[in-house]
Amino acid sequence: MAITPFGDSIEERIGRLEIPFNRYGVDQYGTSRAHLKWMYGFFGLLYRHYFSVKVYDIDRVPDRGRAMLVGNHSGGIAIDAAMVLAACFFEKNPPRLAQSMIEKFLNKIPFASLWAGRTGQFTGLPEHAVRLLEDDRLLLVFPEGARGTAKLFTERHSLVDFGTGFVRLALKTRSPIIPFGFLGGGEAMPTVANAYTLGKLMGVPYIPITPYGLPLPLPAMMQVRFGEPLMFAGDGTEDDEVVIGYVDEVKRSIAKLIADGRTPQPALLNARSSVVPGSSSVEASAR
């Protein structure tokens, strides 16, 4: 039985998620207790034993209720999403299931479609986002989309264009946005080029090319830094200029979190820090 940093098992933590599983162990969206157990078991291995993940200010993620985690993409494939999911599950008490808005192509791929659906990761459609938020779920959004994961190694700390849809959804559903900066994705998957034609042949947007050839991640150091929740005034029907202003604020917040992560950190005085088994750790920044 896998033991988490809090000394409980993955099964026990799944039992503490605010997901109304029915007698067959699935919720109304098809999220399955059994599939979550496998997913967190696998992500837990990566999180604690393969990568070295540091998590900052996880307590800024609300314990319950709707919220939107919004962060930067990097790393060729969505390792960042997997590690944020792992952080919200293994480091938060009570644990939370972060539900990503995934790329549409994934649903066409056998097994990827099945596992995404059974683990609560749904196609990035406004209808899904609104329904999950109104159901008080925790949404994980990467506004850069596939353009974000396609960043080359040299661009790994940059931010490409954000859409505006996520802010309108947050306004419409009155959900707080918790910005986060993710570092280390580019180091794990040092992309030197993307093979778009090969990707199209394989039914994916691109295949990342690494110096060692294979699109497999290296055991890199990673950081997930959560920022202060942002709550904007409005109902989602505001003019583009207003919404773009809010988007820029989120973007600035994420850029600052990335910059903080790149700055060598002095010893954290008065910081609440707990080093967890394995190589990952969780810290709350001194405020």
Partner: protein, 307 residues
């Protein structure tokens, strides 16, 4: 209430008749198929023929339930178009001509189609987006839209369009009951869509509730929460036979598999899940039976074959 049920020999329609009779309503039916030992007068006529109009003229029903559409699974080709579109038009024409107060068109939740980029929990205002991949659904979608058009074309006629999810129960009838009939259910390897179904008694109860509440508008009708296909197969005592998609496509119509149009594969690959909250709000309808009861009743009526 004097109710005429069109397509009365289907399994759900028979349950509707039972429930209407139990509630004290006067009921007659129309169907091309015989209903042996029917508890009501059944006119064995085609709704598109003159004899059907005679039934309207003589009976003068206050309400009509149109359940006389067919899917591509039971009737391929041109004739299906004629039944679904010509039949629906005839029902509405007769309703207007003979002062019917309320017409209920019973459609299907597959109206929305199944596609990789379809949202879960379709609402009634969504267009049928997946027709391009499953053109054999076009006539049913067109019949649904034709019926919905009556809401503004014939404002004097109280019209309700119901998009019912799959039904399951001891009759074993319907798309889902037929799909689950064998002991090994072919599925697509790597896909496990959510299936939305309700007990057939609840499906009939929803139709009766619509008549009694005189609900007007277009509504999705659902039962309990949807279920992954794998669990549905397991709980009805069947075994899944996962096949890669290209093998499945080649095997259709062979080895005991039904001959399905290619678009039908989308419905065992991607979910068609609808939001039934508007109907529940409007009518107070709540399913009496859960998915366990629907699956166990089906299993009891059609026990898995043991080798």
């Amino acid at each position: 209430m004097k109710v005429l049920v069109v397509g009365v020999s289907s399994a759900i329609a028979k349950l509707v008749v039972d429930q209407l009779l139990a509630a004290g309503h006067e009921v007659e039916g129309i169907d091309r198929r015989e209903w042996a030992k029917a508890p009501i007068v059944v006119h064995t006529v085609d709704i598109r023929k003159r004899a059907a109009e005679e039934v309207f003229r003589k009976l003068r029903p206050t309400a009509v339930v149109h359940m006389g559409t067919v899917t591509s699974l039971v009737m391929p080709g041109e004739e299906r178009y004629r039944i679904n579109l010509g039949g629906t038009r005839a029902v509405f024409d007769h309703c207007r001509a003979y002062d019917v107060a309320h017409c209920v068109f019973v459609g299907r939740h597959t109206y929305y189609g199944a596609a990789s980029d379809s949202p879960l929990f379709h609402t009634e205002d969504e267009p049928p987006m997946a027709l391009s991949s499953f053109p054999e659904l076009a006539d049913l979608v067109a019949a649904d839209l034709y019926a919905g058009g009556a809401l503004w074309r014939f404002p004097e006629l109280h019209t309700t369009v119901l998009r019912l999810c799959y039904s399951l129960g001891p009759s074993g009838h319907g798309t889902l009951g037929t799909f689950l009939r064998g002991s090994r259910i072919p599925t697509l390897l790597g896909f496990d869509p959510l299936f939305q179904f309700m007990h057939e008694v609840d499906a009939a109860a929803a139709i009766v509730r619509t008549l009694e509440r005189r609900t007007r508008g277009v509504f999705n009708v659902v039962g309990p929460e949807p279920m992954p296909l794998s669990i549905l197969i397991r709980e009805t005592g069947r075994h899944s036979l996962p096949l890669p998609e290209f093998v499945y496509s080649m095997a259709l119509g062979r080895f005991g598999l039904p001959k399905l149009p290619p678009g039908a594969l989308g419905h065992i690959k991607y979910p068609v899940v609808v939001d039934g909250s508007a109907f529940a709000r409007e009518t107070g309808f709540a399913a009496r039976f859960d998915t366990t009861k629907a699956m166990s009743d089906y299993r009891a009526a059609f026990p898995p074959k043991t080798s």
